[in-house]
């Protein structure tokens, strides 16, 4: 339909205006390409331990080597895969749970809304990281532990966002108008409410990926990650306990952190831009 193309074009023209949003997109594409085509970009095999440990960055090893002689650059590129995949999976689950609860609470209202919101208020107040740590400790370290722990705790803020957006849509009189023409609740939900909140769900979904990546890095740093499947967080965990500080191995400490910051920041820029754009849609 022509109006779909028109919408995308109009959206891009407004999105383009935000420098940070465009920058976010560029950083993201660069990092993801490097991570996806790791074999091409990575100079060495990430598991090969034949270099001299703690060699500072040089022509041989652009980012030096760690305590067991693994090239940091290669390890970091492959570690990116774990961080990204865990981040996106966890975010996906959280967005699914969060939107489901948000949709039910927003649509059905009444006592369903009341109960779901009480639960959300409780989960959102409980200190997130300590709760995740307790769960992860019992479940034992591992990628799936982190994803599970984060899914249990990460969804409330998303639920609140979606619920409040649904309520503001429901108050708009075009909902009452379509009810007046005889449309049923189901039809109204799918033709009017969902299209108007899908923007917010996407925007929050992107932000959730950032939170998930940061959470994975944090839990892995505490040793709750999977040492066999190294993510950036796990790399920093080993840096911390294998004395990178004592050996002055800054090349082991700085790069993984910068990668986490860059990819999270790109999701943050994109997510904030989407949030502002879709948030305005309902206004005049």
């Amino acid at each position: 339909m022509r109006s779909e193309l028109r919408k995308i074009d109009r959206f891009w023209r407004v999105y383009k205006k935000r420098k940070s949003a465009v920058a976010g997109l560029i950083i993201l594409t660069v990092l993801v390409t490097i991570i996806v085509f790791a074999p091409v970009f990575s100079p060495y095999d990430p598991d090969a331990k034949d270099a001299i440990p703690f060699t500072p960055p040089g022509s041989e090893h652009l980012l030096g080597t760690n305590d067991i002689g693994v090239d940091i650059l290669s390890e970091m590129i492959y570690a990116g895969r774990v961080s990204l995949i865990v981040g996106i999976t966890a975010a996906g689950i959280v967005v699914f749970i969060g939107s489901l609860i948000g949709l039910f609470a927003g649509f059905l209202g009444g006592w369903v809304d009341e109960i779901l919101m009480r639960i959300t208020d409780i989960v959102i107040i409980l200190p997130r990281f300590p709760l995740m740590i307790v769960m992860a400790a019992y479940l034992g370290p591992g990628v799936w532990t982190i994803i599970f722990a984060y899914s249990i705790v990460g969804w409330p803020s998303l639920t609140r966002q979606i619920r409040s957006q649904i309520l503001s849509v429901k108050e708009a009189s075009f909902i009452e108008a379509s009810r007046a023409t005889g449309a049923g609740n189901i039809r109204i939900m799918f033709t009017h409410v969902l299209p108007n909140i899908q923007g917010i769900i996407i925007a929050n979904g992107v932000m959730e990926i950032m939170f998930a990546i940061l959470t994975e890095a944090g839990l892995s740093f505490l040793g709750l990650g999977d040492p066999t499947q190294k993510s950036w967080g796990v790399m920093l965990y080993f840096a911390q306990i294998q004395g990178a500080f004592l050996r002055g191995a800054w090349w082991w400490i700085f790069p993984p952190g910068i990668c986490i910051a860059l990819i999270s920041c790109s999701f943050n820029y994109i997510g904030t831009a989407l949030n502002d754009l879709f948030g305005l849609k309902l206004g005049k």
Partner: protein
């Protein structure tokens, strides 16, 4: 002239916050308070009142967009609130509504084609091409362009006046007999407002509609409607033919409303009129207007007047009427 709508003792009350933990002795706010009216086919029935008079709530009750606390609304002899889902849906084809806010009454993400097509899709009338022709027909009715380019526009790309015309088109696309217009022009500029009123008048002649016209502007109702009901704090205080009510108002509130409207020509002694004091405290048992009434009687304090006929078709809820 048969009564297409008969409303008997219609009430809608909302619980007020407060009133003890177990919400026992909760005070209740009656937005619509025992309203009885008759609307004949072919009428342009005006419902006039200030904000908080319950006129909008009444409009929503007529179309059963909200459920009543008490009383019933007979549309063509059948109580709207007793209809089951399918009967109600069928009735909705005949009764439609025009909304006040041009910005929030159209879905910002839908194209104009889809907005007007929705009622047709809900009631599954005809194929896509039938829908297209019906939409073009309706757009011509409301003097809007019918090009494909216009049809694919979204509400964000057109003016306030055009949006209101699309709201009207959406209401007329199912060829209804009865249209409730809730302050259709109050958010528009004067010149555009007059244009919409003209359009609605022509439509009435072309496709003989029955209108219920909700407004707070009595002068507009005088120009547009043939019968009128004046509402105050949820109650109908006066109703009748437009000329009787405007030329010889019986209820003190109607007189106060008429006096308060600034004449369109400079009139030095308009400012000397007394517009009463703005006191909103409410008289629980007796006449609700007692507090603002220019010459109240003691009996008004306890006795709540009900609508009584003072002239053929002209009724008033006041002892002095």
């Amino acid at each position: 002239m048969d009564a297409i709508y008969r409303i008997t003792d219609l009430t809608k009350s909302y619980p007020l916050p407060g009133g003890g933990l177990l919400k026992k002795n909760r005070k209740v706010f009656r937005a619509v308070d025992k309203v009885s009216l008759e609307i004949n086919s072919g009428d342009t029935f005006g419902i006039v009142g200030e904000s908080g008079s319950g006129k909008t709530t009444l409009a929503r009750l007529l179309l059963r967009l909200i459920e009543p606390t008490d009383g019933n609304v007979y549309y063509k002899g059948r109580d709207v609130f007793r209809l089951n889902r399918s009967e109600l849906k069928k009735t909705r084809k005949e009764i439609q509504m025009i909304f006040q806010d041009p910005y929030s009454s159209l879905d910002p993400r839908k194209s104009i084609f889809n907005i007007i097509a929705e009622p047709l899709k809900v009631h599954k009338t005809g194929s896509l091409s039938d829908i297209h022709t019906r939409i073009v027909e309706t757009l011509e009715l409301v003097d809007l362009p019918t090009s494909d380019d216009f049809l694919s526009k979204t509400p964000g790309e057109i003016s306030g006046g055009q949006r209101q015309r699309i709201g009207i088109a959406r209401a007329l696309v199912l060829k209804p007999e009865f249209v409730v217009a809730d302050e259709p022009v109050s958010m528009l500029d004067a010149s555009i407002k007059a244009g919409i009123i003209e359009l609605m008048t022509q439509l009435k002649k072309k496709i003989n509609l029955t209108y219920v016209f909700i407004t707070h502007e009595l002068a507009l109702a005088y120009h547009f409607c043939n019968r009128i009901a004046v509402m105050y704090l949820g109650e109908v205080v006066e109703t009748g033919n437009i000329d009787d009510v405007i030329q010889s108002p019986a209820h003190p509130y109607t007189r106060l409303l008429l006096d308060s409207i600034p004449p369109t020509e400079p009139d030095p002694d308009w400012l000397d009129k007394r517009f009463g004091k703005s006191d909103f405290s409410r008289n629980a048992e007796g006449c609700k207007f007692f507090v603002r009434c220019p010459n109240p009687k003691d009996s008004c304090l306890h006795f709540r007047p009900s609508l009584s006929e003072i002239k053929r078709g002209h009724m008033v809820a006041c002892q002095l009427g």
